[in-house]
């Protein structure tokens, strides 16, 4: 006769007690509830008291202002916006401008940072000195100063629109920014997009298949001719069938500025340049520290397998270094996002400039607007750090640590 081991009885109450009260037990839980209640009461008192006082002083309060007309214009909008839209729309416009400059900045900062770090670690004397010079100069100058430098120095060097530098008559560079032809979708556009999407998915699937074959069975499969066919050949065929997917609207000089075409404003360029080069200096040091933290035997092992220096770095050293790199790298991404609020100094219409700046002084509702703005930065930062945590967790898992 066999008896199954009896499950211990579920001790839900005990579990709750341990989680909430720690060693203090039920008393601890009670104290915590009382403490939380007091905190909540104080918070409620502060908010209601503030509301009453603001009302007594005839300072408008509440979020009703978000539905009012803004009545001012913004020079870079990712969604359609005119002066007769609401403050809520201004908020979204500013938010998107902040997000776009942060994302572009992060991408460039990471690229430059990795390149500079690899330069510093390079056995080539000149390259490593250049990398060192870059880091020491850039990270020791205040960021605001660098933003102003890029903005005023670059602007001063560029001609006015009437004398703008023409790039083959298609794009124009002037102190109003870079004007490029604007793509306009034609009838074949949807089909082209669909085919391109299919090509990318199919190419990825092929790559996955080839990697499995290599790692599991040791077969090398040559896939690049198929990938080329999928990504370039197929769309070309579609174009022949459906006609050109897009035509381009060329910019033309009219009056003071260019009409037609898309424009990248110089404020955006200056801010992105300053943010990414500045943050890259810090990222370079983080990457260098991460790579140096990998035992030098790993490099030697790669060399003794006959791998080139680049391949060893890519396949062996960097993946191990990433574990050390990711947490401080997250800090730098967050810093870059927050530093983008310096945009107001050069007139880039980010969230702080158009919402916590212009909207605030048009409505005078400082508490609500500053609270919303702080909330947004908190949210962006938390999202960034969550994404990086997931990435870090995946690296740790794949390294079996």
């Amino acid at each position: 006769m066999s008896t199954e081991a009896r499950q211990p009885p579920a001790q839900i109450a005990l579990k709750i007690r341990r989680i909430l009260g720690g060693k203090a037990g039920w008393n601890g839980i009670a104290v915590q509830f009382v403490f939380a209640a007091i905190l909540g009461w104080i918070g409620y008192e502060i908010v209601s008291n503030a509301r009453a006082n603001l009302e007594n002083q005839h300072i408008a309060a509440g979020f009703g202002f978000l539905r009012n007309n803004a009545g001012f214009d913004v020079n870079q909008t990712l969604i359609s916006y005119t002066g007769s839209d609401t403050f809520l729309r201004v908020f979204v416009v500013g938010l998107l401008n902040t997000v776009v400059v942060s994302v572009v900045g992060i991408v460039f900062a990471t690229l430059i940072g990795f390149i500079v770090a690899l330069c510093r670690l390079s056995p080539n004397w000149l390259l490593s000195r250049i990398g060192e010079l870059y880091v020491e100069v850039i990270r020791n100058l205040p960021l605001l100063f660098q933003i102003l430098f890029w903005y005023l120095a670059v602007l001063a060097a560029l001609p006015n629109p009437r004398q703008s530098i023409s790039l083959f008559g298609l794009a124009f560079v002037s102190n109003r920014g870079l004007v490029v032809p604007r793509p306009v979708g034609e009838s074949g556009f949807e089909a082209f997009l669909a085919v391109l999407g299919f090509g990318i998915v199919a190419a990825l699937a092929l790559r996955y298949h080839a990697r499995r074959a290599l790692f599991q069975r040791g077969h090398m499969i040559r896939i690049w001719p198929y990938v080329l066919g999928l990504l370039i050949g197929l769309p070309l065929v579609t174009m022949l069938v459906f006609g050109l997917p897009v035509t381009f609207e060329l910019p033309q000089l009219k009056g003071f500025n260019f009409a037609g075409g898309s424009r990248i404003i110089p404020e955006f360029v200056a801010l992105t340049l300053a943010l990414s080069t500045y943050t890259a200096a810090f990222i370079a040091e983080i990457v260098r520290a991460g790579i140096l933290s990998v035992h030098s035997g790993q490099m030697e092992a790669g060399a003794s397998l006959g791998l080139s220096r680049g391949t060893t770095l890519r396949l062996i050293v960097v993946p191990q270094a990433m574990r050390v790199i990711v947490p401080p790298l997250t800090n730098q991404y967050l810093n870059l996002t927050k530093n983008s609020s310096l945009a107001v100094a050069i007139g880039y219409p980010d969230l702080v400039s158009v919402f916590a700046g212009t909207s605030l002084s048009q409505t005078g509702q400082a508490i609500e607007i500053i609270a919303m703005t702080m909330g947004v930065y908190l949210l962006i930062s938390l999202l960034t750090s969550a994404a990086m945590s997931i990435y870090g967790w995946r690296i740790s898992r794949s390294l079996g640590a």
Partner: protein, 338 residues
């Protein structure tokens, strides 16, 4: 950063104080021994510091006049430079007692900020500054231009209204401070710089070659500039309001900083009332009988202040125009002191 601090101060002040409005501004100022006055970060003629840190300008003289009438000493003022964006929060949070900073009187500012305008120190209007090389003679020729403007001003909204009303396209680039705006205009980022016309003349002096730039004739808005005080302290409101009226009245009566002592001896019923030899108007304000004499001795009458800072006696050389006395074709008018 300062804006965040100010907003937090305001939130804390609003959240933690139990008394609704601080009705004790005069007492607070007297106890402190110093008037705290919000001014601009540097606009020649209105409020700007010289190389030794001494502030001058019309708005500055209003502060000095208030300090003079309270302490009989025009130097007892702490000047707090505020940006266009921070100014109202600084007033609301109690960091400053009076905001004297080329601020346009509008209904929304008068009703929703918990503050009141006390009068008009300067009647202004918005204009445009362009490079002469653009060969533009009217604001109506500015279609598709790029315009530099300081953020957080009525200017920004007037600009949108004007271009919309005239069916013209434009690009706006908004900067945090006046100096950044002027610098970008000078660097060629925009074709046009717009602000109140007095400000255009003042800022033109800062450019490398003022002669290369011209102010267009159009005035596109009404910009009555004046001081502001917090809601809920009527005595303080009266003091600031009547300080300006006293300066205008002094000009009307021909009382200047030089002849005020002689005028005080003249047996003229109106002069006796104004200069404190008859009645106790100063005391009713919470001040002293010689309140007007103190003001005029310290900064002079309105005309003197205007000439010294923005008028004929200054580098700006702006004509009196709308800012002349009511009986000389202008708008400056003070209710009677009686």
């Amino acid at each position: 950063m300062k804006r965040v601090t100010l907003a937090l101060t305001l939130a804390l002040a609003a959240g933690l104080t139990t008394q609704a409005a601080d009705a004790q501004t005069l007492k607070t100022v007297k106890d402190r021994g110093m008037l705290s006055c919000g001014v601009s970060q540097g606009l020649p003629g209105f409020s700007s510091p010289d190389d030794k840190g001494n502030w001058t300008g019309i708005d500055v003289d209003i502060c000095r006049a208030i300090a003079a009438t309270i302490f009989n000493d025009p130097t007892k003022v702490k000047f707090v430079p505020t940006s266009a964006k921070d100014r109202f929060t600084a007033l609301q949070s109690g960091e400053i007692d009076v905001l004297s900073r080329n601020t346009t009187w509008t209904i929304s500012r008068d009703t929703s900020l918990g503050a009141n305008f006390t009068g008009v120190t300067y009647y202004d209007g918005q204009g445009f500054l362009v490079k002469k090389s653009l060969k533009v003679n009217s604001a109506l020729e500015l279609n598709s231009a790029s315009v530099c403007v300081q953020t957080g001003t009525t200017t920004e909204q007037n600009l949108a209204d004007y271009f919309k009303a005239n069916n013209m396209k434009y690009e706006v680039i908004a900067f945090g401070t006046n100096d950044e705006t002027v610098k970008a205009y000078e660097a060629g980022r925009c074709d046009v710089f717009t602000t109140d016309q007095s400000g255009l003349y003042a800022n033109r002096l800062k450019l490398a070659n003022p002669g290369d730039h011209m102010v267009l004739p159009e005035i596109i808005s009404k910009e009555p500039l004046g001081p502001m005080v917090r809601h809920g302290d009527d005595q303080w409101f009266d003091i600031v309001k009547w300080t300006l009226f006293a300066m205008v009245t002094a000009e009307e009566l021909g009382v200047t900083s030089k002849n005020v002592d002689e005028k005080a001896k003249i047996e003229n019923p109106e002069l006796k009332r104004v200069l404190g030899n008859d009645g106790n108007f100063g005391e009713q304000l919470g001040l002293t009988k010689d309140w007007v004499i103190r003001i005029v001795k310290a900064v002079g009458n309105y005309g003197e202040v205007f000439d010294r800072n923005v008028g004929a006696g200054s580098p700006l050389g702006i004509a009196r125009g709308l800012n002349n006395l009511w009986n000389k074709g202008g708008l400056q008018y003070a209710p009677p002191i009686r």
